[in-house]
């Protein structure tokens, strides 16, 4: 779907997306990394379990909600990757019980 113009970014960080390691470029948003990873969707809806993916990338549509380092309901387009970050798709409503 998407590609980097520069296929060899200067600095990379390793993150995991649903448990699988992924090399993201430093300074990239989580949403960008997830779109590049090709996992297809970022969350499923609480109402009908439909898959959704980032839509506006400017923080107003709330479609890219993901579980980031254990925290649910994070907007992937407003979060930036850091080494070792754990990113998971959010299934249904975010679980805030922890």
């Amino acid at each position: 779907m998407f590609k980097r113009l520069d296929s060899h970014p200067e600095k990379c960080v390793t993150i995991t997306i649903d448990g699988k390691p992924f090399e993201a470029a430093a300074g990239e948003t989580v949403a960008a990394a997830v779109l590049l990873s090709g996992i297809g969707y970022t969350r499923t809806t609480p109402v009908s379990d439909a898959p959704r993916a980032p839509f506006c990338l400017m923080g107003v549509c709330y479609e890219c909600l993901m579980v980031i380092d254990g925290q649910p309901n994070r907007r992937a387009c407003q979060e930036y990757v850091v080494e070792g970050m754990r990113i998971e798709r959010q299934h249904g409503a975010g679980d805030l019980s922890e």
């Binding site: 998407f2 300074g27 990239e28 779109l35 993916a53 980032p54 506006c56 990338l57 479609e63 805030l96």
Partner: protein
């Protein structure tokens, strides 16, 4: 700066670090005001000058000279005596100018003598069948990926909609060597006639028209096919986008693609102004609700000023001038300069702003979105993306006697999800107006209440650390 450095009170708080907010902050600081500039993004520039501080030169060149203008504005703010708080979301603004915010993950309440809202615009959400599928995104989202991360469509992308941004993005993609499968132009042919009366005035700002024509000619020369006068857009796919169909000259056409970027103009992002209780009016020409302001940006609430695209779409250069004018007004209201001094200092910006506005009536008429597209989506089209409320469900609520936006919201839950109606408020109002024959002002918008963006109860509770159990 970080949450720990926040003071509890400022003479001026500016919300939004795009062109309007940046220019307002610099002007206010020059007059010695104690200024905090709060912004949701991690870096200054707003959407228009996004990533301007970190972008590699080559990519900045691809984006064009208008983008590169942002550099000066951002460095002026960095050099000014302004407390700049990035990654800061404002979830509440009251009439008394108390501001609830999340700086990083930390909630705080601060207050201000004057507040300038410079929250900018959002892309006009326009529901069509399949628009919730992964692989369908706003054109602005495509441009954000390009600007801030140098990420572009990998295979053939389909661009669809109507508005200057669509053309600009196609042109920027073309320069970056992106394969554009098709550019589907939904601007109706009759808009050419509709815009004609405004052409003479638009010629006074002919550089905008020439730019547009140049983009079109460059695209044509590059062999990118633009299909004009298109209707009935539909995105299809099982789990994600597989194809896009549309009607052209009475024929249904289908293009296979995994990426569709759409754009139907931009509208002011009014969530916070609404939650504060500022008066808003429907603007027929811009087809959006706008906060009511006077020539100096004063809203209907004393001490809250609103400026830039958040008050009506005028573009980045208008926002610069208006930002400075509004800052002068705040400086004047705080007793730092007399009225005649304010007027004298505002003279140039006021003139330049008038010059900038010559092009607007033409653009508004040319890119006028047809009422049918706004107010008559098919019954099975999802309108509220968060709560998955369809146009059919909305019309059903209308048919049993619910005839304004808020009643439809109570009955169907549309507008009650995490985006809090940002993506469906306008559409629901259009659908209700179309179905009932009422005017948009009669139908109204959802009532917005704080928090204007979600925060956890834990974050809220930590605002009051002394109150145990």
């Amino acid at each position: 700066m970080s949450a720990a450095e926040l003071k509890s009170h400022y003479s001026l708080v500016i919300i939004g670090a795009g062109p309007a907010g940046l220019c307002a902050a610099v002007a206010a600081a020059e007059h010695g005001l104690d200024v905090a500039l709060l912004d949701d993004q991690r870096a200054p520039g707003g959407q228009i000058y996004r990533a301007i501080e970190s972008i590699p030169t080559e990519r900045a060149r691809l984006l064009g000279s208008e983008y590169q203008r942002g550099d000066k504005m951002v460095s002026a703010m960095r050099n000014a005596d302004v407390e700049y708080y990035p990654d800061t979301q404002v979830w509440s603004l009251s009439r008394e100018r108390e501001i609830g915010l999340l700086c990083g993950r930390t909630a705080a309440m601060i207050s201000a003598d004057q507040v300038i809202l410079a929250g900018g615009a959002i892309e006009r959400p326009l529901p069509f069948p399949g628009w919730t599928l992964p692989g369908v995104m706003n054109a602005g989202a495509g441009q954000i990926l390009f600007k801030s991360q140098g990420i572009v469509p990998a295979d053939g992308v389909v661009l669809a909609g109507s508005g200057p941004l669509l053309l600009l993005l196609a042109w920027q993609y073309m320069h970056a060597g992106v394969q554009i499968e098709a550019l589907l132009d939904f601007t109706p042919m009759r808009n050419h006639l509709r815009a004609m009366p405004y052409l003479p005035r638009a010629l006074l700002a002919h550089h905008y028209l020439l730019n547009g024509l140049k983009y079109k000619m460059d695209l044509k020369r590059a062999g990118i096919s633009t299909v004009q006068n298109v209707s009935n857009l539909r995105a299809k796919g099982e789990k994600s986008l597989e194809s896009v169909s549309y009607i052209h000259s009475g024929q249904q056409q289908t293009i296979e693609t995994d990426l569709l970027l759409t754009h139907f103009g931009i509208i002011p992002h009014i969530q916070l102004a609404q939650a504060a209780g500022c008066r808003h009016n429907w603007d027929k020409r811009q087809q959006c609700w706008r906060p009511q302001v006077d020539d100096w940006g004063n809203s209907s609430i004393d001490g809250i000023l609103i400026v830039g695209d958040g008050v009506g779409i005028g573009g980045a250069r208008t926002a610069e001038h208006a930002g400075r004018l509004t800052a002068l007004q705040a400086v004047h209201k705080l007793g730092r300069i007399a009225r005649h001094e304010r007027d004298r200092l505002a003279r140039d910006d006021r003139k330049w702003m008038r010059d900038e506005q010559h092009i607007r009536p033409f653009l508004e008429a040319f890119f006028h979105i047809p009422a049918k597209l706004l107010g008559a989506p098919a019954d099975d089209t999802v309108v509220c993306r968060c709560e998955e409320v369809t146009a059919g469900a909305i019309r059903k609520a209308i048919s049993v006697g619910h005839d304004d936006s808020n009643q439809v919201k109570f009955l169907t839950r549309c507008g009650m999800g995490p985006c809090q109606g940002r993506q469906c408020a306008e559409s629901v109002a259009h659908i209700v107006a179309t179905a009932t024959g009422k005017s948009l002002p009669q139908v109204g918008l959802y009532r917005a209440r704080p928090p204007a963006s979600p925060l956890t109860l834990e974050q809220l509770a930590r605002l009051f650390p002394d109150e145990k159990e």
